[in-house]
């Protein structure tokens, strides 16, 4: 039993990380008022770019993950152009981006031959003798670099949002763009910045999946994690640290599946795989039954802003 718990818990952070980074990235853009449904697509781009970057740079982890972030950032510029520049409905644009990315990554992955090519990926970085501590050793100290950085990164985003002028302006734009505009803040500029910054985090989440977790690229490998992240943001009431906790919850659920299999529990395989999606639905239902979720949203979420409309 103890072994089961230890193996399970030690696999959680790695599974939680993509959810955490993706939802924090979404929070950054949503707090600025932009509903970014394209997360699923951006994660795929990050995942493919990660593998591609790794292969092209002959095995550099840094290059791979940077490629993830940059590629997702570039694609998000397309989204930003549509949504901020051309005032396209954010839901339509988000969906289009997802399918664009799905098609594009599939195409590139096949044509370049990067599909299904196993890579060495990023190794675990056990922290010296700490990893030998009983119980908490393997759970906390035998992970890769990104997992160690996860909590500080989320905390840093939280801090920037709440305690800096940059975050202050971003929040103002998301709550009342007219007020921010009248105060002289550039609404389009802030939103574009938020979209790209958020996208880079989302891309990193995707890159982690391919470069660190699976150590290869398969078309569609994110399997809906982007959508779960969108739901997670609502569940976390747009707060980064709560998103982190939610991500651990989901990581925990996802980690349970292979553990149960290994433990010999005989459950229908595909129904087990369904659990993250059902869990997300359950969480959404539970939240809706409880308090007032929608009132926590940034007030101007999803609404495009134009200054010079006919009064």
């Amino acid at each position: 039993m103890q072994d089961f718990v230890i193996t399970w818990l030690s696999s959680v952070p790695s599974l939680a990380l993509p959810y955490a980074l993706a939802s924090v990235g979404l929070i950054v853009s949503e707090r600025a008022g932009v509903l970014s449904l394209g997360a699923e697509g951006l994660m795929l781009v990050g995942a493919l770019a990660g593998v591609g970057g790794y292969i092209l740079s002959d095995g550099s982890d840094l290059a791979a993950l940077s490629a993830s972030m940059i590629a997702a950032g570039i694609v998000s510029l397309l989204f930003a152009a549509l949504v901020v520049g051309l005032r396209v409905n954010q839901v339509i644009a988000g969906l289009a981006i997802v399918f664009f990315c799905q098609g594009l990554t599939n195409l590139i992955g096949t044509l370049t031959g990067w599909q299904n090519r196993a890579i060495a990926g990023m190794p675990d970085l056990p922290l010296g003798s700490l990893e030998n501590l009983p119980i908490i050793g393997p759970v906390l100290f035998r992970h890769d670099l990104l997992v160690y950085l996860l909590v500080p990164v989320c905390w840093a985003v939280n801090r920037v949002l709440n305690s800096t002028n940059l975050g202050f302006r971003l929040r103002a734009v998301g709550e009342n763009p007219a007020a921010a505009d009248a105060a002289g803040i550039s609404v389009p500029g802030t939103r574009i910045l938020a979209i790209v910054a958020g996208a880079m985090l989302i891309g990193l989440a995707g890159g982690y999946l391919s470069v660190v977790s699976a150590k290869l690229w398969i078309a569609g490998m994110t399997s809906g994690r982007g959508w779960i992240a969108v739901a997670l943001v609502i569940f976390a009431r747009w707060k980064p640290m709560q998103a982190l906790m939610g991500a651990f919850l989901f990581g925990g659920i996802e980690a349970l599946i292979p553990q149960l299999n290994a433990a010999g529990v005989k459950l229908p395989q595909y129904y087990l795989v369904m659990t993250p999606y059902l869990a997300t639905l359950a969480v959404m239902i539970w939240q809706a039954l409880g308090s007032r979720p929608a009132s926590e949203a940034p007030a101007a979420l999803g609404q495009p802003y134009v200054r010079e409309e006919r009064p």
Binding site: S163, G167, A182, A183, A299, P311
Partner: protein, 497 residues
């Protein structure tokens, strides 16, 4: 400002407008709704850029590239719809317009600056609460402080008293006068003659995008000002004495909202046939909720709405929906025209027809006839004198406020209702359209309809109502018979529960 022109598409909002304002003066801009007052000042505040014309401050020509630029030059504007972030508190909102180096430090600095200015002019504001929780008057004070802390020497106030009760308005305008004595140039955009005459030094009258004349505010006669603003004499409809019939609508103990902060508390009143019952009160005291409940769109948490039957007895309507209300003879005209009464992207004809479709007037369930809609709409538009309709199949969103309201009223009246509830019917309308609407309401009353008039415009309520109820904090705190004492009503409006 000189020779300013501005058009939105084909609509010319400003036509060669010019303005001359001195330091230390309170300068009013008087005009009807749609005259261009806000547009002109939005140009001054950097929110709009003019198509032509110039702006000169202290001899220096200025062309603002945006609101930040205007603020930097000392121009601050308090808009009719406050540009405040509800979730932030007062300090954060003020800091939006006056950014500081670091966030935390900035908050402390701004806090001090706010206190300094607030003490100087005698304001008191809660700095910690999210601004969305403050009263309208307090929110306005935050807006003013925001402009002052940002260094505004020219303060523009757009219809500041529209949302205030009489004595709050007086206090505000006195403060503005005080500010001007310290050197600030205050610009007061308003359509209220009384405010101009009591508080302004000079007044510029605008009409249809043009600046017509500039006069001394204290000495200019009311007639002349009205004539300049409206362009012709408008005779307001007169309410003739009229005997009303039996009680028709009885509202008892209506309550609504969560128990810690109810929006309506035990509201009770009754309206007779052939009577206009006016509900006066400053906006935000539960009027919208009451209208919605009467329309059947919201359900009260307690209380009843009853209709007296012609053959005796009462019919309890409380649990029905909007369809049931309409079937029982109710008609409602909500305040939010574009949001609740008109579907902007749908044609004028269909917007009118929807009131009758369900009774089969335009065809059976399997076929709705466009042709018959056109005929009906054309005659309705003629009846109600709705202007600006090139084709009844054009989008309803293209109608101006006044014409849209005329259409809505025609639609509601066409069903020959026995009870009409109107909420702020003349908000945003020019004097002519206003008079037309009022005429309509009085005619309905003379025909024996029970009319509930809910309005934040005290003049409107006083002019039309047979009986007046004053609504404060979700409760009817006092009732008066016409002719009513304005002072008494004003006192009741700000009385505490």
């Amino acid at each position: 400002m000189s020779g300013v022109r501005k058009s939105f598409g084909a609509f010319r909002a400003l036509d060669d407008a010019s303005l001359n304002i001195g330091w230390g003066e309170v300068h009013a801009i008087l005009g009807e709704n749609g005259a261009g007052k806000s547009t002109l000042m939005n140009v001054a505040a950097g929110l709009y850029s003019a198509d032509a014309g110039s702006l000169v401050i202290d001899g220096q020509p200025c062309a603002f590239s945006g609101p930040r630029d205007a603020i930097a030059h000392g121009v601050g504007m308090i808009h009719q719809h406050f540009k405040l972030v509800n979730r932030f508190n007062a300090v954060e909102n003020v800091m939006l317009a006056s950014p500081r180096g670091s966030y935390r430090q900035g908050l402390a600095e701004v806090s001090r600056d706010i206190k300094r200015h607030a003490d100087a002019i005698g304001f008191s504001v809660d700095l910690q609460q999210p601004v969305g929780m403050l009263s309208i008057a307090e929110q306005q004070r935050v807006e003013i402080l925001k402009a002052l802390v940002a260094g505004a020497r020219i303060l523009i106030l757009d219809e500041p008293t529209a949302v205030l009760a009489d004595d709050e308005a007086a206090k505000l305008l006195q403060t503005v006068q005080g500010l001007s004595r310290s050197g600030v140039a205050a610009v007061l955009i308003t359509h209220k003659l009384r405010d101009v005459q009591k508080f302004a030094d000079r007044v510029t009258v605008m009409r249809a995008g043009r600046t017509i004349a500039t006069l001394d505010a204290r000495t200019a006669p009311s007639d002349e000002l009205t004539m300049l603003a409206v362009g012709s004499k408008i005779v307001p409809p007169i309410r003739r004495a009229h005997s009303s019939g039996i009680e028709r609508l009885i509202v008892r103990g209506l309550s609504y909202g969560p128990s810690e902060r109810p929006r309506l508390r035990q509201v009770s009143f009754s309206v007779r046939e052939g009577e206009i019952y006016g509900i006066a009160g400053v906006g935000g005291n539960g009027q919208t909720e009451l209208t919605d409940i009467l329309a059947g769109v919201r359900k009260p948490t307690a209380g009843t709405i009853e209709l007296a039957q012609p053959l005796g007895g009462h019919f309890d309507l409380t649990s029905g929906g909007p369809g049931d209300r309409r079937d029982s003879g109710f008609a409602t005209v909500p305040a939010d025209r574009q949001g609740q009464a008109i579907a902007s992207s749908i044609s004028v004809a269909e917007n009118y027809a929807i009131a009758h479709v369900h009774e089969g007037k335009f065809g059976p369930w399997y076929f709705v006839s466009r042709a018959s809609m056109r005929e009906t709409a054309v005659s309705a538009i003629r009846e109600a004198d709705v202007q600006g309709v090139r084709s009844v199949f054009q989008r309803a969103g293209l109608l101006s406020g006044g014409n849209a309201q005329k259409l809505v009223m025609e639609r509601e009246f066409s069903r020959e209702p026995s009870i009409i509830v109107v909420h702020s019917p003349s908000r945003g309308l020019d004097v002519r359209a206003c008079a037309a609407i009022h005429r309509r309401l009085l005619a309905a009353r003379d025909d024996g309809v029970a009319v509930v008039l809910i309005s934040e415009d005290l003049d409107e309520v006083l002019g039309l109502s047979d009986r007046i109820g004053v609504m404060t904090a979700g409760r009817i705190v006092a009732e008066f018979d016409a002719p009513a004492d304005r002072q008494a009503i004003g006192r009741a409006m700000v009385g505490h529960v």
